[in-house]
């Protein structure tokens, strides 16, 4: 191998850079899943919990288009018997009535900033003039 030494040094630097996030965080506290406040009166969401954890954002996106553009207002849930009105404010937040202890906990930990609440009114904000 020509210039073997230089190539090896380059490779080592490259691998160190690529793995920077891993060794930089060595020793710091491990990730802990945030504790969420779940609705007390309800057992089932509109889909199984594990599914919702992965797909809720896509479901909300789909719901938005269906209800705003195609005038479909009743979703057929796979877990619940009754029909579900498509509404973030009136359906989701009816059960998950604490945005800070449900939505925000995960979103803050995962560092995502959805802009739902720029317009939609979260339950506890009603009457605050927000």
């Amino acid at each position: 191998m020509y210039d073997g030494g230089k190539i090896l040094i380059g490779l080592i630097i490259f691998i160190l850079l690529c793995t920077f996030p891993f060794w930089y965080n060595l020793g710091s506290a491990a990730y802990e899943a945030p504790e969420l406040q779940l609705p007390e009166n309800e057992q089932e969401c509109v889909q199984p919990t594990s599914w919702m954890r992965v797909n809720h954002m896509d479901l909300l996106d789909t719901w938005r288009d269906e209800v705003v553009r195609f005038d479909k207002s009743d979703y057929k849930s796979s877990t619940l018997d009754q029909k579900v009105e498509i509404s973030l404010q009136n359906t989701c937040m009816d059960c998950h009535d604490n945005k800070e202890k449900f939505c925000d906990r995960c979103h803050n930990t995962a560092s995502v900033n959805p802009y739902c609440w720029d317009c939609h009114v979260a339950p506890e904000e009603v009457g605050d003039g927000q």
Binding site: E66, V68, Q89, D118
Partner: protein, 261 residues
Amino acid sequence: MDNNRRNFIKIAGITALLGIGTGVPFSVSAYRPEEDKYLENKKSINGKRFGMVIDTRKFQTEEDFERVIKACHDAHNVPENLPDPKQEIKWIWKDEFKHVFPSKPNPYLAEKVKHREFLLLCNHCNNPPCVRVCPTKATFQREDGIVAMDYHRCIGCRYCMAGCPFGSRSFNFMDPAPYVDVEAQNPDYPTRMRGVVEKCNFCVERLQEGKQPACVEASNGAIMFGDLADPESEIRKVLKENYTIRRKEELGTNPSVFYIV
């Protein structure tokens, strides 16, 4: 290792299989919106082309207007009393004849009409120029003829405001939430954010629940709402019996709001 064709094809084949093998489980478990099921909404009011008839003779006092305007603003969290009146948000408002019907100039107009005020709102045109110019399809015509807004997709370019000949669209120059009447705020309906355009939506959220639009309900029979495409509908009967005019018909937008004068 010999670099020959046989080995190359072997390695390529194994790599392809590995790729497919890891990709397939992911795509199988992925969410496919097209498989979602929806139920028919039996409560909703349906139509082909919704329209409105406003009997301006029945709007006599200030109170008649205020009641209707307040019903709309409260139902949709429309901000009021913004610091700059030029930035006002208009869903339903009023003006006098010469401004409402500028294409029907008449120097000898009957006194009672000349000084009468007219209730104005989005005309939900059948040929809406705002929809044509919107670059993101944030505003669109629904199958029932209502010209609706998807605030999620509005980028605030204001082409629609330039396109609308009726001034029915307002731009949120600032965050509107602090100017929504706290007492009357409707917790079931969202507010808007800074940088989007908004307008009357013919109360699509109320039609979905089988209710008449808020202004119709508050008008004590001075406003009629219904399906213009249905010859048997109540609104067509009213149109048949009364002489009605529309705003700026000559522009060809085919407005769906009719005025009895």
